[in-house]
Symmetry: C2
Subunit: 491 residues, 2 copies
C-alpha cells in the first residue's frame, strides 16, 4: 500500500500519520487487516521496526487493535459519521468557509486592525528617518543593562521562577513609586503601581474596567490612535475633542458626561501643547462633578526644554479620579514592554483582577532588572543624558527647519517631548503622499500627522521625531526634505 509520508519528524510518526489518514479517509476500512509489518516495510521502503512503531502508536491511539498471532486490524467502533466526513469536511470548510460567529469585540478589533493600526516595522527604515517612537538605541547603556540582567537571571531563586503577584514585582513597584514621586510629582505608594506590558495594556485594562458597550469616552483630537481604537473596540462611544495650542479646551467639556477622559496634559500628543494649570484644575473639577475617571497618558513627560518638567495631573488630583499611565519604552527601548499604571484607590481591585485574568501578571525577570536599573541610579543618569542629547537634537532640528524651509513650515509643539509638528504651508493634504515618496527616494522618512486624527485635517502636517538621529543627520535630513519639497513644487 502507498504511504504518503509528509517528511516531518521521525519516520515512524510519518508512517503513523499516513496510516491514520488512510483510516480516517476510509481507504483502510473498519475492521480491515493492516498489511503485515514486513510487507509494508518493503512496500514503503521503511525499516520493519519503524512500521512496528507506527502500528504500536495506532493501537495506543485507538485506531487499530492487535490480535495475538493474527496481525493488526483497524478497529470497528470508530464513529461512522466521523470516518465518512473526515476528508470531505476539510474540503468543505475551505470551500464555502462561512464566517465564524465572533464576538462583537472581535468584529470591532478586526475592523480596526485591518485599518492599519500596526506596531512593528514592516520595511527597513530610511537612513534619515524622522520617525517618532523609537529612541536612539545606541545611546542606551546596553552593557550595563545586560550586566544587571545576567546577574538577576543567574541569581533567580525559586520564588523568582514561580508565579508572582499580578500587581508586579515588589522591587519594581517600590522603585517606580519612588521615581514617579520624585520626578513627576505622582502621589503614590508601591501598592498603587500596577506593572503592565506597556502603555497599550494600561489602556486596555482601563477600558475593560470602565467601558461597557455604549459608554461615553472622550479623547483628544488629534491623539494617539491606540487609545481611540482600544476604546472603540471596547464598545465605547468615543467623542474626540479638538485640542488647541494649550491642549484640551476644558470649556468644551461643560455639557459633556463620560465614563472616561483620556488626556496627555504634559505634552499633547501629537501637537505638543501643554495643558495650563487652569485647565488642569477645571478638568479635575469636571471629572469629579460628572463622576468620570481621567487617564493621564504621560507618554514623554520626561522631556521638557523650557523650565523644569511639569508635574503630573495626578499630583493635583484630590478625589482619586486620575489613572496615571506611563512607559519606560520611550526612554529605554520598546521591546522591553514594561509600563505602569498608577491606580486610584477605587480602581485598584478591578484593575488588579483584570490584570490577573488577562495574563496572571507581568513576567518577572525584566521587572527586577528594571528595579535595579532605577534603584542604582542608571535610569535617571540615562535620562539626564538623553535630555541633554535631545535638547541638542531639537535645537539642530529647529535651526535646520528655519534655515532650509523658513516660512514654508509652521513648527509647533517644540517645548517638550522628542518630536515637533511641522505644518507645511502651500501643500495640500493630498500632496503629502507624493512628498513622502520624493523624500523616501532621498532616504528621508517623514510621517504625516493625519493618522492621529479621527477626522482628517485640512492642512498638510508631518511629525518630525528627532530622538533617534544625531545632529548632522538631522541637518542633512532636513536639507534633503527641502529638496524633495522643491522638487514636488516644480512638478
Amino acid at each position: 500500500m502507498w504511504l504518503a509520508l509528509d517528511g516531518e519528524g521521525p519516520l515512524y510518526r510519518q508512517a503513523y500519520r499516513a496510516l491514520r489518514a488512510a483510516i480516517l479517509d476510509g481507504r483502510l476500512a473498519r475492521g480491515e487487516r493492516l498489511p503485515s509489518s514486513r510487507v509494508l516495510a518493503r512496500d514503503a521502503k521503511l525499516a520493519r521496526n519503524t512500521v512496528l512503531q507506527a502500528y504500536e502508536q495506532l493501537v495506543a491511539e485507538g485506531y487499530a487493535e492487535s490480535r495475538r498471532g493474527a496481525g493488526t486490524y483497524v478497529v470497528g467502533q470508530l464513529p461512522e459519521r466521523a470516518i465518512r466526513t473526515a476528508r470531505p469536511a476539510r474540503a468543505r470548510a475551505a470551500a464555502d468557509s462561512e464566517p465564524p460567529a465572533l464576538s462583537a469585540y472581535a468584529e470591532r478589533a478586526v475592523r480596526h486592525f485591518a485599518r492599519g493600526v500596526t506596531w512593528g516595522r514592516r520595511r527597513p527604515a530610511p537612513r534619515f528617518d524622522f520617525r517618532y517612537g523609537d529612541p536612539a538605541y545606541g545611546d542606551f547603556p546596553h552593557a550595563t543593562w545586560c550586566r544587571l540582567l545576567g546577574r538577576r537571571a543567574r541569581r533567580a531563586s525559586e520564588r523568582h521562577l514561580s508565579y508572582s503577584d499580578p500587581g508586579g514585582a515588589p522591587e519594581l513597584r517600590q522603585a517606580l513609586a519612588a521615581y514617579l514621586s520624585r520626578a513627576r510629582g505622582v502621589a503614590c505608594e508601591p501598592d498603587d503601581v500596577l506593572v503592565v506590558y506597556g502603555t497599550q495594556q494600561a489602556i486596555d485594562l482601563t477600558a475593560r474596567v470602565l467601558i461597557d458597550p455604549g459608554a461615553r469616552a472622550i479623547v483628544e483630537e488629534p491623539g494617539y490612535p491606540g487609545i481611540r481604537h482600544a476604546l472603540e473596540i471596547a464598545g465605547a462611544e468615543v467623542l474626540a475633542l479638538p485640542v488647541d495650542g494649550d491642549g484640551l479646551p476644558t470649556e468644551a467639556l461643560a455639557g459633556e458626561r463620560a465614563r472616561l477622559l483620556c488626556v496627555t496634559p504634559s505634552h499633547q500628543f501629537p501637537t505638543g501643547g501643554v495643558l495650563t494649570l487652569a485647565r488642569r484644575l477645571a478638568l479635575l473639577t469636571w471629572a469629579e462633578r460628572v463622576g468620570a475617571f481621567v487617564l493621564e497618558d504621560d507618554y514623554d513627560g520626561e522631556f521638557r526644554y523650557d523650565g523644569r518638567p511639569l508635574e503630573s495631573l495626578q499630583a493635583l488630583d484630590r478625589s482619586g479620579r486620575v489613572l496615571y499611565a506611563g512607559t519606560v519604552s520611550k526612554v529605554m527601548f520598546p521591546a522591553l514592554r514594561i509600563g505602569y499604571l498608577v491606580m486610584p484607590r477605587a480602581l485598584r481591585d478591578p484593575l488588579l483582577a483584570a490584570k490577573a485574568f488577562a495574563d496572571t501578571g507581568t513576567a518577572q525577570l525584566e521587572q527586577r532588572v528594571l528595579a535595579d536599573f532605577i534603584a542604582q541610579g542608571f535610569f535617571e543618569r540615562h535620562l539626564r543624558r538623553a535630555r541633554v542629547r535631545n535638547a541638542a537634537r531639537r535645537k539642530a532640528l529647529l535651526a535646520a527647519l528655519a534655515r532650509e524651509l523658513g516660512d514654508a513650515v509652521e513648527v509647533v509643539g517644540a517645548n517638550a517631548g522628542v518630536h515637533v509638528v511641522a505644518w507645511l504651508r502651500g501643500v495640500l493634504p493630498g500632496e503629502l503622499r507624493t512628498l513622502r515618496e520624493l523624500a523616501a527616494r532621498r532616504d528621508v522618512g517623514i510621517h504625516p500627522i493625519s493618522p492621529f486624527y479621527a477626522t482628517r485635517p485640512r492642512r498638510a502636517g508631518i511629525l518630525l521625531g528627532y530622538a533617534a538621529l544625531d545632529e548632522p543627520a538631522i541637518a542633512e535630513g532636513v536639507h534633503r526634505l527641502a529638496l524633495a519639497l522643491r522638487e514636488m513644487r516644480k512638478s
Copy 2:
C-alpha cells in the same frame, strides 16, 4: 511660615510641593505675596537657592507669578472652586466613598478575584509540599538558559529592541510550530502560532474573540478555574459538564449548543482521564455541527507513562475548529510567562488583533532565547530527562500511597501529567480542612480538589503533585500524611 517637607527627593521639590499644598488649601490666598526667599530660607532652614528654585517651579507651573522688584505672588486666576474644595474633596472622597461606575466586566472580575483565584504563592511552602503546577526548579538547566539569555541580550540589534510583530518573534513561531508538530502532532505553520503570555492569556484572548455576554460556553467539571472564571467574567453563560474516567462524556453534548467548548483531552485536569478516540471524533463532529470552537488546553500533554504521548485533538481536526493552547511554564518555569495558541485560520485575524490591542505583542528577548533553547535541542533533552524523573517520582508516590494508606485512598489519573488525585475513603469533605492543618504541622502540603469544582464534590479528594519533590521526599511526605490521617481519625 511652616513648610511640611515630605522627605521625598530633592529639597527644592519638597519645598515646592509644600508651598503648592498651601496654595491649594488656601493657607496662601490668591494674590498673596509669598515670603521673601531669604525669610523663608531662614524659617524653613533651607538654602536660599533651594527656596528660589521652588519659587521658580511654582511660577513655571502657574501657581505663582514673579513681579519684577516686588517679589513672588500667588496668582489670582486659579479657578475658585478648585482652590476651595481641594482639601475637603480628598476628605470627602475617603469618607462617603461611593462606589465608582465600573464596567460589567469589572464587576464580574472583582467578584471572581475576591473569591480567591490567585496565582502567586502567599506563604512559604512546607517542606513536603505536594503542590501542583510548580516544576522541580533544581532540575532545570538554568546555566544553559542564562548563557543563551546573555548571548541574545548582548547581541540584540535595533530590530530586536524596537516594536515587534503582535503574533510573536518569527524564530519562536518557527521553533514552536516544528516542536508541536513533532511532539504533539499539531498541524500548523509558524503563522498559525500566536505567542502569548501563558495559558491565561490564551484563554482570555479566546474568550474575547468568541464570547459575547450571554453566549454559551462549556467547560469540564471539575476543571481549571482560570478557564471557568475567565469565561464567566467575559459574560459567558457557562455550563460545567461532569467528566468521567475517560474525560468529557460527549453523549452529554447531544442537545447542547455553544460558542466555545474548553477541554483537556490528553489528561483531564484535574481528574486525569484521557479522552478516548471515539469521544475525540464525536466531539469534533459535534463542534462542526453546532458551529462551536474547541479550546484544547494541552497543559501537560508532554507527560504520559503508559505508551507514547497521545496526539493532540487538534491533529484530528479537519474543519478548523480547534484552538490548541499550551505553555512551557509547566516544563520550564512559570515566571517565564510564555505560552502559545495555535489558531485555526478563521480566528487568526481576530486573535492577532485582540493580542495587538491587548499589549502590542509579547516581549521579545525571552521569545528568542526560548527559540534557541528549542532549536538547539535543550528543550526536548530537558523534557526527556523530566519524563524519566517524573516517571520515577510517580512510581515512588504510587508505591508510598499503597504502602502507607492502602485502601484508605483511591488513586486516579496516574497515567499522565505530574499529579494524581487521591480520593480519601471515610473522610468527609468538611474534615479536609482539619487534615490539611494536621498535615501542615508535619510540614506536609496537601491541596484539596474542591476548588476545581463549580459544585463542591461530595467526596474528600486531594491533588498530589509530584514533579517538585524527589523520591525520598515523596516517601517521607506520604508517610507523614498517613500519620496526620491517623491522628485525625483518633481525635
